[in-house]
């Protein structure tokens, strides 16, 4: 029993790794054609969830009594969701984070002047890339040349982040929306 519980924990701790393996396989079997690569990461986590749930049930959760099984289910779900979120975050950083891209560019050129690096960062191109991604993710839509939010998910996340920034003592963010301050 103890041995099985140890394997159960090791499997849960390795979720980012198993998700990466799943995504690597899926990316080589057609998922690469998807417009949103972030979506491929989410699909990989979701695809892994079903066989993983079966394996964890067989290994440990199925052997517990009703009360312990409920606690075990909450524990397993919480760790699975958090680990999947961590993986998504790492993938998203590799995909879109400018800090990571800057590090890669400085590394590839064995040193770079700050002004040269800045020249590679055109705000218009970056914003255009992001508009495309937001449309592909179903968060934003275009009507008669105007952009509208299609889903409230990211809007709620952004508002929550701004609220937490203020709790931590940061000043309001600087992007302006028709005269009022928004992040």
């Amino acid at each position: 029993m103890m041995g099985k519980f140890t394997i159960f924990l090791a499997l849960l701790a390795g979720i980012p790794l198993w998700t990466a393996v799943t995504q690597a396989v899926l990316m080589r079997t057609g998922l690469k054609l998807m417009r949103s690569r972030q979506m491929t990461s989410l699909i990989s986590s979701a695809s892994l969830a079903i066989p993983f749930a079966g394996l964890l049930w067989h290994l440990y959760l199925g052997t517990l009594d009703e009360h312990d099984r409920f606690v075990g289910f909450v524990f397993t779900s919480a760790v699975y969701i958090l680990m999947s979120y961590i993986y998504f975050h790492i993938f998203n950083m590799s995909e879109t984070a400018r800090r990571i891209r800057m590090i890669l560019e400085i590394g590839q050129r064995s040193g770079l002047k700050a002004s040269e690096l800045k020249g590679h960062y055109n705000s218009i191109q970056m914003i255009e890339n992001r508009i495309e991604r937001l449309i592909a993710l179903g968060q934003v839509e275009v009507h008669e040349g105007k952009l509208f939010t299609k889903s409230k998910t990211l809007y709620i996340a952004a508002s929550a982040m701004e609220w937490w920034r203020r709790i931590l003592g940061f000043p309001p963010s600087r992007v302006r929306d028709q005269g009022r301050q928004v992040p």
């Binding site: 519980f5 990466a20 080589r28 760790v79 790492i90 800057m102 937001l134 963010s173």
Partner: protein, 172 residues
């Protein structure tokens, strides 16, 4: 499964969060990710380890009577919460342009041109490069920037990761 495996890490995470808010409001550390690692991972790990050793040697009373493997499960949940928060933290500090764009678009909508006018090159570039310098991932010699050993390690890790996934480097 003992329900303390859920309660202990959530309580520990909440205490770490309170310490984090107090420290940030009093004096925000320069190397924030290191400070967060200290508050959310090293501090609870040190306190937890010393408590377990003291309880095993009978120096203090063990109120929970958890087995080692259950403590490992509690540690896994705490680490998951802590790493998820630390991974999200940079987005609080330099709010992601994607999120800022969603807020700027709001419910009323906005034209493409107006949205572009909210962002300038300096706003998108300078906070990031300053963050890399403060985090000791990049060093500067006059105007020239180069990677530190930590920066090199991070660069190779991401190149390896994306090669493993069959992808080119990110578009930023």
């Amino acid at each position: 499964m003992n329900q303390l495996v859920l309660i202990i890490p959530v309580a520990a995470f909440a205490i770490c969060m309170v310490i984090h808010v107090i420290v940030w409001r009093i004096c925000r550390p320069a190397k924030r990710v290191f400070a967060l690692t200290g508050i959310f991972i090293l501090l609870p790990a040190a306190l937890g380890l010393s408590s377990v050793i003291s309880m095993r040697h009978g120096l203090i009373h063990d109120p929970f009577s958890l087995m080692d493997i259950e403590l490992a499960a509690a540690l896994l949940l705490h680490l998951s919460l802590a790493i998820a928060y630390i991974a999200t933290y940079p987005a609080f500090e330099a709010i992601s342009p994607s999120l800022a764009m969603v807020l700027a678009i709001g419910s009323e909508g906005i034209s493409h041109k107006e949205l572009l006018s909210f962002f300038c090159d300096d706003e998108l570039f300078e906070p990031r490069i300053n963050d890399l310098l403060q985090s000791s991932l990049v060093k500067s010699h006059g105007e020239k920037l180069s990677l530190t050993s930590g920066g090199n390690l991070l660069a190779y890790s991401f190149i390896l990761f994306r090669t493993f996934l069959g992808l080119k480097k990110g578009e930023g």
